[in-house]
Amino acid sequence: MAITTVKKNKRFTDSFWNVFKKVLLYSLLILLTLFMLGPFLWLISTSLKSAGENIFQYPPQLIPEKITFMNFVKVMDTFPFWRYLFNSVVVTILTVVFNVLFCSLAAYPLARMNFKGKNVIFILILATMMIPFQLLMVPIYIMALNLGLDNTYAGMVLPHVTTAFGVFLMRQSFSVIPYAMDESARMDGANSFQIWFRILMPLVKPSILTLTIFTFITAWGDFLWPLIIVGDKEMFTLPLGLNMLSGTFTSDWRLIAAGSVISMAPIIIFFLFLQRQFISGVMNGAVKE
């Protein structure tokens, strides 16, 4: 009798602790979510407030008195959102495709062939990680102007289409594939390029995903280089366009907020669809590095 009571009590305290722990963890998580997303929620709220509502009122009001979409309609008149979105998409896709292609091409011989100068080449490639782009941007700018690459997609994309990180990552993944794979393909008459493309590339899909995600995040958010190389508004990417918008409408916060919300909408939607891939891609990259 006494033993069962003790057991019951223990079970009671155990489950009490579990519930308590869960409540504590969830409260902490929700609090942190508010900190991480709060500034965005505020932006959305401001973009929905009507002209009649004082957005500077004190204390600040998160919920708009009357929700209106007028700010979005108005900002679309002056903010060529679709043009900027198109430019951002083109620049990001080109950067991702060429970066994955060039890095995987370069990584293949470095991982699976013996040739003269292999180590020197690999070390030189890794050394580029130590060189900050901010040192290079001045000469690259001068060079790009001479080549007529200003205000072009090529000018925005080319400096970023091979990264030491990408070569390193792909080399790591190629080097763990058993050599029997290449040899049997070679017996069947495949050449090196076919082995790379048909046999090896399909086997390193997780690393391709990782490189795609990393390149995507940097290319989509890139600001400094486009700011330097692009002056023509027709070629602006979303960050550049939004930066200009916030400069022109300094007085109308509703419009700036509406512009910000539509600028971040595409990436948020894209991320929400592929969140699992984003997160596992970054995790895979961290383990490989």
Binding site: L29, L43, I121, L136, Y141, S192, W220, M283
Partner: protein, 289 residues
């Protein structure tokens, strides 16, 4: 050379061409430019180390250098330590934990221009932060966080930290999940308590990831530009201006390419020293345990 021998080099051609054209050549060109007086209109004139001499006498250079160091000292420890706790938190087996992981990652994928605008709103004199602090009785008068020389740099630092937390959290999450369960089970059998498991298993096994985050966050802090450009423009009175900001202003504001390149070379040397310190200290600790 036979075709067979040529093959590895062919794979390397695209990547190495890009790295050569956009990193190695500009690197040498930048060093050369740093020894010249060049404004894009007249021909470059060799002036030896004059740019460096001028740099070391320039109060603004020392100011931006100091700001960069303050940035490093403030941002790096926060980004190395806080994400560990976040990672432990989102590694819990709870319902809906995927939602929180994604929520914390959203600032990583949004562009800094949007983030800057959102935080601008938080920092306003009649914004959320002042309201919250007044409500809590911490301050009596609202503070212009971004317009005061004593707070602007720190206000921007908070945004850098906020935007990086999710990224490094995922890297640590990968680290936590790479630790084999059997280690903890063995420790349980030996009667280890929770604290012993944390200090003897989790922390030592996480050290390579701490090194990675430490290197990445310090190199990124060294190169900070976009959040400052968007939020304060380096002001007020240069109080939030960093070294990269100085390079940008000299090169694309004053067209003083030689002077900007000299500052770029200093940035490069500092990046090298920093990576070395990281490898030496954090790396050693990682190996010892």
């Amino acid at each position: 050379m036979s075709r067979r021998k040529l093959t590895p080099y062919l794979f390397l051609v695209p990547g190495c061409t890009i790295l050569g054209a956009f990193i190695f050549y500009p690197m040498l060109r930048a060093i050369w430019l740093s020894l010249t007086d060049y404004n894009m209109i007249q021909d470059a004139e060799f002036i030896g180390f004059d740019n460096y001499a001028k740099l070391f006498q320039d109060d603004l250079f020392w100011k931006t250098l100091l700001n960069t160091v303050i940035y490093l000292v403030g941002v790096v420890p926060a980004l190395v330590i806080i994400p560990i706790f976040l990672a432990v938190l989102v590694n819990q087996k709870l319902k809906g934990i995927g939602f929180f992981r994604s929520a914390f990652f959203i600032p990583v994928v949004t562009s800094l221009v949007v983030a800057g605008i959102a935080w601008d709103w938080v920092y306003k004199e009649n914004g959320l932060l002042n309201y919250a602090l007044q409500l809590a009785g911490i301050i009596t008068e609202p503070i212009g966080w971004l317009t005061s020389t004593s707070t602007a740099l720190f206000a921007v630092m908070v945004v850098t930290i906020w935007k990086g937390l999710g990224y490094y959290m995922i890297i640590y999450l990968a680290g936590l999940q790479s630790i084999s369960e059997s280690l903890y089970e063995a420790a349980d059998i030996d009667g280890a308590n929770w604290w012993q498991k944390v200090t003897r298993i989790t922390i030592p096994m996480l050290m390579p990831f701490v090194l990675l985050v430490s290197i990445m966050s310090s190199i990124n802090a060294m190169k900070v530009f976009e959040e400052i450009y968007v939020m304060t423009g380096g002001g007020p009175l240069h109080s939030s201006e960093t070294l990269v900001f100085l390079i940008y202003n000299e090169a694309f504001g004053n067209l003083d390419m030689g002077y900007a390149s000299a500052a770029g070379v200093i940035l490069f040397l500092l990046t090298l020293i920093l990576s070395f310190i990281n490898l030496k200290f954090v790396g050693n600790k990682g190996n010892l345990s």
